[in-house]
């Protein structure tokens, strides 16, 4: 029987396999940031251990950093200490770091791909659950905890239980105004936040193959929101074209392509589970609740919990509506928004900014809301500025910020106030995720831009 792409990558990285024990898997690339690494470095020091492969490790500052006044010292002393700690640790252990002010500083999952250091067939880990983003390149990439960060620093490997495999086949073509964000939100609504637990997802089908690299990253990014630690998409010419010319693209590119093309899902490979979706009838999607599985097409109304059969889901929906301050039966498009956030590792890349700018060009955002545009990396910011996108956003009345995770998780000063409601291109609508008491609706960059113009949740077709 044939093998899936994920199984082949796994097999290529087995350092040691013994019956009754987890496989020891080699890690090709370890990305680190300020929030989940300090305790790992402390652990190394306490045990007198060192970093095994500094040349397979790279750090950046993203979760905690301000997006304003980045030329001044970080105002919050606790945040400053955490960032300073990362810098000191990188210096002590000889690790590459991209700090605030560097053009390759930014959200760790934007930085890897833009450097060309995320490549097919690799195993990639980071102390961040959205590491699944890198799966868009045909890599096996997943988030790890701090104990595992320490483990990888010390050994460049991890003991792991072999995951099961799931295929999600998305066939057909997307209507104008529908994006890869809508695909993944629809998938999560379909299989649930626990649907992917224990699996690596491979996204397949004509609708997936037609996506650009950056759109593919959006899909893989939110695998974890469906419960899957990793999600990947088979690499193809789109992938190779994206990597070519990037700073760390292989010097012998043809040899690399020859190697990469040995890795693919065999025609007779069996997935443990297969899920089918049709792209033709997808609509722009939006979440109404407090977990990413609570989503609906934008043309729907807020659901009535009484209509939900499953008692656990019904209770969760009741709670969610109270928290979100929504009434069953309200058309989603009537929901007024206070803040639009365009950014994050899900939708903070240049294509996302271009798509939103295209809608905002020459127009003004509604006077009832604010819009934050936060590029995924300093390089994305520079690229956008070279194209004049910053002017488009500023002229429309939006704020143009520096790179970081920003309001996706509200760890830096970019937060929602209590009761404030956002339309956000990020990945999580959990209670308080974007600030204590804040209410989040997850949307695509197109819906974010249309919403900014109209003041209520809207799709570009409503303009």
């Amino acid at each position: 029987m044939g093998k899936t792409l994920a199984e082949k990558i796994w097999a290529e990285h087995i350092v040691r396999r013994v019956d009754g024990e987890p496989d020891l898997i080699y890690v090709d690339l370890h990305l680190i940031h300020e929030v989940t690494s300090p305790q790992a470095f402390d652990g190394l020091r306490l045990a007198g251990r060192t970093v095994r492969r500094p040349d397979l490790t790279i750090a950046t500052e993203d979760h905690n950093v301000p997006t304003l006044n980045i030329d001044r010292p970080i105002a919050d002393p606790v945040s400053k200490l955490q960032v300073d700690t990362l810098r000191a640790n990188c210096k002590e252990f000889g690790l590459r770091i991209h700090s605030l002010g560097d053009k390759d500083q930014g959200v760790v999952h934007v930085v890897g791909p833009q450097l060309g250091i995320t490549q097919p067939g690799m195993t990639i880990v980071c102390g961040d659950s959205h590491t699944s983003t890198h799966g868009a390149f045909g890599a096996l990439a997943f988030g790890i905890g701090t104990s595992e960060v320490e483990h990888v620093l010390a050994t460049q490997s991890l003991p792991l239980q072999r995951p099961k495999t799931m295929a999600i086949n998305v066939e057909g073509s997307l209507k104008p105004g529908v994006t890869s964000k809508d695909i993944i939100l629809a998938i999560i609504a379909k299989i649930g936040t626990g649907g992917g637990q224990g699996y690596v997802i491979e996204y397949r089908g004509s609708a997936i193959r037609a996506l650009s690299m950056e759109s593919r990253m959006t899909v893989c990014n939110m695998s974890i929101e469906a419960g899957a630690r990793a999600g990947l998409i088979a690499h193809d010419q789109t992938t190779f074209d994206y990597i070519k010319g990037k700073p760390h693209a292989p010097e012998d590119f043809d040899a690399a392509v020859s190697y990469w093309t040995t890795l693919f899902t065999d025609a007779d490979a069996q997935f443990d589970v297969e899920v089918d979706m049709n792209a033709d009838d997808l609509e722009p999607f939006v979440t109404w609740g407090t977990n990413p599985g609570q989503g609906l097409p934008l043309n729907s109304v807020v659901p009535n919990p009484a209509d939900i059969e499953d008692s656990e889901k019904r209770t969760a929906a009741e709670r969610a509506l109270v928290y979100m301050g929504l009434e069953a039966g309200t058309p989603l498009k009537k929901i007024a928004i206070d803040t639009v956030f365009l950014g994050s590792c899900t939708n903070g890349r240049i294509e996302d900014l271009r798509a939103a700018a295209d809608i905002l060009k020459g127009k003004k955002i509604a006077s009832t809301l604010r819009m934050l545009v936060v590029p995924g990396s300093a390089r994305v910011r520079l690229e956008a500025e070279a194209e004049g996108l910053d002017k488009v956003f500023l002229d429309a009345g939006a704020e143009w910020r520096n790179a970081g995770c920003s309001m996706c998780l509200g760890m830096n000063p970019d937060q929602l106030a209590v009761g404030e409601r956002s339309a956000s291109t990020s990945n999580r609508n959990f209670e308080g995720r974007q600030g204590k008491g804040g209410r989040t609706h997850l949307v695509s960059p197109l819906v974010a831009a249309a919403t900014a113009l109209r003041g209520t949740l809207s799709s570009p077709a409503d303009l």
């Binding site: 350092v15 024990e21 987890p22 020891l24 690339l29 929030v35 305790q39 045990a47 095994r52 500094p54 040349d55 397979l56 979760h63 905690n64 919050d76 606790v78 945040s79 200490l81 955490q82 700690t85 590459r96 060309g116 250091i117 490549q119 961040d128 659950s129 997943f142 905890g145 701090t146 104990s147 595992e148 320490e150 483990h151 010390a154 460049q156 003991p159 239980q161 626990g194 637990q197 224990g198 974890i224 419960g227 899957a228 630690r229 700073p247 760390h248 292989p250 012998d252 977990n291 656990e312 969760a316 998780l409 509200g410 760890m411 999580r428 959990f430 209670e431 308080g432 995720r433 204590k436």
Partner: protein, 198 residues
């Protein structure tokens, strides 16, 4: 790591599903660079509600958290495990755990046990009827017992052994350094490196 063989304590019924790690510990508490002191952030937003289960006198000494399905979804922050441990929890029981949270908990010695949803609901009822109900979690025999009930649970042999011996995963892997060396010797040179900077 402390050995985990058997734990006897009282339970805390958390009747919520999809408890994500942002609820277990919000991001604003993640700025610390230590592994301790995270108990203040545990369920920080919910603890503002005086009726929240952790605020009820009867459950203040509980060490076994019994939660709804899909516990620990979302962010990979291991601070969620530390916050639960710093607060005093030794065991979390749920019908489903998110993969990364479960991995983190078992690395750090917080025992996460999967029981059926019906068994979880029976535990909730028993704990709520009598919050002083003693719960025995026996990793050796792989059973959870309280009152006259005894429920078996599944955990793989390797993880159980590691927890019962209190072994450090990194130490175990470092014993395999020869295997890592030989793997690296055969690795293709086509893979990228972060250094030198290009």
């Amino acid at each position: 790591m402390e050995k985990f063989i058997k734990h006897i304590g009282t339970g805390v019924p958390l009747r919520r599903s999809n408890v994500d790690t942002d609820q277990i510990i919000p991001a604003v508490y993640l700025k610390r660079v230590t592994r301790s002191g995270f108990e203040d952030g545990l369920f920080a937003a919910w603890r503002n509600d005086p009726d929240f289960v952790l605020n009820q006198e009867a459950y203040k000494k509980g060490t076994v958290l019994v939660a709804g399905a899909d516990f620990g979804t979302g962010s990979s922050r291991e601070h969620a495990v530390w916050a639960l441990q710093n607060y005093g929890f030794k065991v979390v029981i749920s019908s489903r755990f998110a993969d990364i949270f479960r991995g983190n908990s078992l690395k750090g010695g917080l025992l996460t046990i999967i029981l059926g949803q019906a068994e979880v609901e029976e535990m909730w009822a028993a704990i709520e009827a009598d919050p002083t109900t003693a719960i025995t979690v026996d990793l050796d025999t792989r059973t959870v017992s309280y009152a006259s009930v005894s429920v078996p649970f599944v955990i793989d042999d390797y993880t159980r052994w590691r927890l019962m011996e209190g072994l450090d995963d990194i130490g175990l892997t470092l014993q395999q350094t020869d295997s890592i060396d030989s793997f690296e010797g055969k690795r293709t040179a086509l893979k990228p490196t972060t250094l030198p900077i290009r």
